[in-house]
Amino acid sequence: MAAIVTAEDIAMSYGNTPILKGVSFELEAGESLSLIGSNGAGKSTLIRCLLRLEPIIAGRISLFGREIQNLKPSELRSTRCRVGVVFQRHNLVPRLSALSNVVHGALGRNTQSFGSMISGISLWSHITAGRVHRERAMECLDRVNLADLAHRRADSLSGGQSQRVAIARALMQDPDLIIADEPAASLDPIAGEEVMGLFSELCREAGVSLIFSTHNISHAVDFADRMMAMKSGRISLDGRTGSVDLQALKAEYA
């Protein structure tokens, strides 16, 4: 299978502080990968670099075979729209309904031609969105079991519900890859477990590749095929989740 994410020897720093020091890995289509490591190890930065939310200073990153460093804005958007993104917090627009937030997932798909750019304006809210998009958004909410809260405002939802809305928005994109930065970190243990379970189940069902970072070693092992551990900007471990020594990992990274 072809690699859909390729990172070759990437380096990144904030000012004079190096954050990533030569990170290389590949992710194949359909694979799920968990990233672990202590705070400041570079997990979030790596994720932000993969999406070109931060610039790298050396190395190469390719998504779906396109090197993202040199893409024009429109090419970057058409690459990004194949990637669903879920952050730890503040994913959703607080004052809009859950449904509107899910409808936003279609925005990326709507920038490729001038006609669709115009129709993109209708996607600012579920009220103006066309029937096709609204129904699709309802389906996505249904897949995360939130159809009954579709019209609730996002800021009235619990942390776990918000993350499920964010997942529904990612599904709305019909992505080939989902990247999640500590999606369970701000949730209580039960909600965290639910969200992670939902992630891995939906990705497996739809054949979507998944990269997520976490502090929870059992999540990293239970919900991914493969895991990578990071330590001060470098990958210190990369292997199948079945073959790692859980006790040794917990001693080192927990």
Partner: protein, 277 residues
């Protein structure tokens, strides 16, 4: 021997503070001197105030205020309201568009766009810092006497007020939800309207209501320079020393401003309450 450092609060502050107070008192004395403020003069002129009050009350004397006159004042009051409303509406729309470009890192993010942002900010400042009466005089000169000049004045004043505060409200919005959308391929334009504007909406609404209150108050005086509305009637009555009828107009203005302020504060509270739920 090692000298202990002086704690910051025992530094030079007391002397600096003392000098600041002295400076403040000196500036105040200087300004009162220049302002011609005089209690003696105020008390000495009570006679004129009494005359005004005596002639102004009772404000409605049937021999002096005809129904036709009252009807004319009423129409002028309506015109004042119309000017304020139409001018505010135009100003809100244009002010919002300018604010999008005046807001730091909102529509574009590049060194060149900083220049654009700065220029738009300066334009808004120009609209805001030139007083409304000066704009009114200019517009009366350009489009002639009447309500249109007043409407344009209110519009420019509202652009200056709303352009600034709209931009600040959109700058204050947490950009992380916009970033989440742009990370998944949305255009910047879409992220602004799908994520930033909805989050700023309560602030935009309350600012708009304040702008309308402000417009009502200023539309009352625009008539003084011929820019339409009830101010013109008031001025001519004062010139003719028809204080009783002037008092009627002052009363009408008072009621209009009061009603608009009450309504505006009611709607503001409604917006706030909606946000707290």
């Amino acid at each position: 021997m090692h000298r202990a450092a002086v704690p910051p609060r025992f530094g030079n502050r007391p002397i600096a503070g003392f000098l600041a107070v002295i400076l403040f008192l000196l500036v105040s004395a200087w300004c009162f001197g220049g302002s011609g403020f005089s209690i003696a003069q105020l008390l000495g002129s009570s006679e004129y105030l009494l005359r005004f009050l005596r002639e102004a009350f009772p404000p409605i004397d049937e021999h002096r205020l005809t129904f036709e006159q009252f009807h004319r004042y009423w129409l002028a009051l309506i015109e004042t309201f119309q000017m304020a409303f139409a001018g505010t509406l135009l100003g809100l729309v244009i002010g919002f568009i300018l604010a999008l470009f005046a807001s730091r890192g909102l529509m574009f993010e590049s060194p060149r766009s900083n220049l654009l942002q700065w220029s738009v900010k300066m334009l808004i400042s120009l609209f805001r810092t030139v007083p409304d009466l000066v704009w009114a005089i200019i517009f009366v000169m350009v489009v002639g006497l009447g309500a249109f000049a007043g409407t344009l004045t209110i519009m420019v004043d509202t652009i200056g007020f709303c352009g600034r505060f709209f931009a600040e409200e959109m700058e204050d919005v947490d950009r992380s939800s916009a970033e989440a959308l742009s990370a998944s391929g949305a255009r910047r334009f879409d992220t602004v309207f799908a994520a930033v504007v909805p989050a700023a909406t309560p602030g935009l609404i309350t600012t708009s209501l304040f702008a309308f209150e402000k417009a009502i108050r200023s539309s009352v005086v625009l008539g003084l320079v011929g820019a339409g509305g009830i101010g013109l009637e008031l001025q001519s009555l004062m010139n003719w020393m028809a204080y009783d009828r002037a008092m009627v107009i002052i009363g009408m203005i008072f009621v209009l401003v009061l009603v608009v302020e009450q309504l505006s504060s009611y709607f503001r509270k409604l917006v706030m309450k909606n946000e707290q739920q």
